[in-house]
């Protein structure tokens, strides 16, 4: 035993430089990630950001109780879940479809042009996307109201106050921003599939469609699963920029744009209740964690080699 201890000590000593290497990164993770986890405690107190997290009076589940009684609560849960559900289902479909098309382009130059173009939105900040959407939807000078709707002989629409269009607009904007990224993910796992499978299938007379269904899709499964688990872990999170910035904070649209993240932020700006926001943030963190662990557990049961951890 003593011998072992001594051995460990010499091993640690030999690795001392590496601990120094790791120090800044680990300290940063403690500050940026671990302290806030401890800070989740504040959702059980009367939140007071000035006094400090542990000075607030302990109130138990009161914040949660009152949060669930607000009319906002079912709304933010519904919006966050429904948008994420749509993204979870559509992301792989759009991504794989685009990747499939890219895979059918045999000219290297063309492929590069397509890829560059489709990736462009991933370089653009949400602020710019907000301006792009505004160029289309601005009531007085937007392309929709000034050009497209008159051409179709339709009346103009007050876009930023009309609730019914926004679910579709936000889903569209999401895919406009993120499809390039998603398609490259699937494309890169698609081209790593060995050509031999396809050659053998071709010899057997399998059509392209059959090859896609019986070779490509099954071999993409691990990627789909990984992406879906990541998505599930974020099921109570939402793209803050998309839901807060793109609708330009229009209050008339809260019904379909308010998600957990925008709600929590509004608490911080003083427009909402900080205690409820802290409680909503707590639920978001904890339930998100539980979902990702559960999803991974389920996958481990069904096909262990695809589990993430």
């Amino acid at each position: 035993m003593k011998q072992k201890n001594k051995k460990l000590r010499t091993r640690i000593k030999a690795h001392l430089p590496f601990y120094i290497f790791m120090m800044p990164g680990l300290i940063y993770l403690v500050i940026n990630n671990y302290l806030p986890m401890i800070g989740l405690y504040m959702s059980f107190t009367k939140v007071n950001l000035v006094e400090g997290i542990f000075r607030g009076e302990f109130v138990g589940l009161q914040n949660f109780k009152f949060l669930t009684m607000t009319t906002d609560f079912p709304l933010i849960i519904r919006n966050t879940l429904l948008y994420n559900l749509a993204f979870l289902i559509l992301n792989p479909i759009v991504g794989i479809l685009l990747a499939f098309f890219m895979n059918e382009i045999h000219s290297k130059r063309r492929l590069k042009v397509y890829q560059t173009t489709i990736l462009m939105p991933s370089l653009i900040s949400v602020q710019i996307v907000t301006y792009i959407v505004y160029a289309f939807l601005c009531v007085d000078t937007g392309l929709m109201n000034k050009t497209i709707l008159p051409l179709l002989g339709k009346d103009i629409v007050k876009w930023y106050t009309t609730v019914k269009y926004w679910p579709a607009i936000l889903v569209f904007v999401h895919f406009w921003m993120r499809s390039g990224f998603g398609s490259v993910v699937y494309f890169s796992s698609m081209i790593s599939i060995s050509q031999e499978y396809y050659e053998a299938a071709e010899l057997d007379g399998a059509t392209k469609w059959k090859q896609f269904c019986y070779i490509t899709l099954p071999l993409l499964k691990p990627t789909v699963i990984t992406m879906t688990i990541i998505g599930l872990g974020a099921i109570f999170r939402s793209d803050f920029g998309l839901f807060y910035q793109v609708p330009m904070g229009s209050g008339a649209l809260y019904q379909v744009t308010q998600t957990i993240d925008t709600y929590v932020f509004r608490g911080l700006t003083g427009l909402g209740n900080l205690g409820y926001s802290a409680a909503a943030g707590f639920l978001q963190s904890v339930i998100g964690f539980i979902t990702v662990v559960l999803a991974n557990w389920a996958i481990r049961k069904i096909s262990p080699e695809d589990a993430m951890f």
Partner: protein, 294 residues
Amino acid sequence: MHKPTEKQVYAAIANVALSMCALIVVIPILIVFMSSFSEESSAIKYGYTLWPRQFSLDAYRYIASKIDVIGRAYLITVAVTVAGTALSLIITACLAYGLSQKNLPGRKFFMFMVIFTMLFNGGLIPTYYFYTNVFHIKNTYFAYIVPGLLCSAFNVILLRNYFSNSVSASLRESAKIDGCGEFKIFLKIIVPLSTPILATVGLLNAISYWNDWQNGLYYMDDANRASIQQVLRNMTNNISYLSNTSSLPSASRQIPGVTVRMAIAVLSMVPLMIAFPFFEKYFVKGISIGAVKE
């Protein structure tokens, strides 16, 4: 006339579909771009269009007259991007290098510590509390650099895998026999051997610093320290933001509000767009390595 092969049919369909996607991506960006060159009154009359009836540089002239605000914001964004990228690359690479040592005591624990940050986090309000009330970074330039962006678990894992797979242990051993210290080995051997992955991670970092606006939203109220994304955000709600913030004498003419918005958007996206073809290779690589499970 022979029947096209199946391959040709699929290629044709793919070309049509991808061309359409490309148009859906490009047209909105072009509309912003072209509108910024429109004459203000024609933009008001005909709205934002793909081809303005009357071209004018008024929007850009107006921005030039407010150069103190825009120029400073630009400088801040450039400085933050450079400093943030460098710092985060150093911190991330060093952490990843330590984790790549197979015999490091406690390696599993530290690895778990990194991965766990991907699964669980404290969320906005506790994070905000610690940064503002404990570390007091509000309204300092650290606010743009430190929160959230310095060291992502994803990048740590990316670099760690590269270090442990691509840098041979024997190379390190022989350097050690030659009397090199660990720091020297890292700088003289590991870093030069890992330039492709370092470029990729650095690039992903640079893009997120250039485009970051949330840190500004949460931690920066000082209009004199606004980054370019902050200026954009402030102008979505308040078109007179520029003239109110600028200390330069206001031009007698009115703000060409409709076109100035688009001109600032163009100015903030042009640098990345111009540079993109040169670094696209690394960008695609960054996404791809993330996708391929080891």
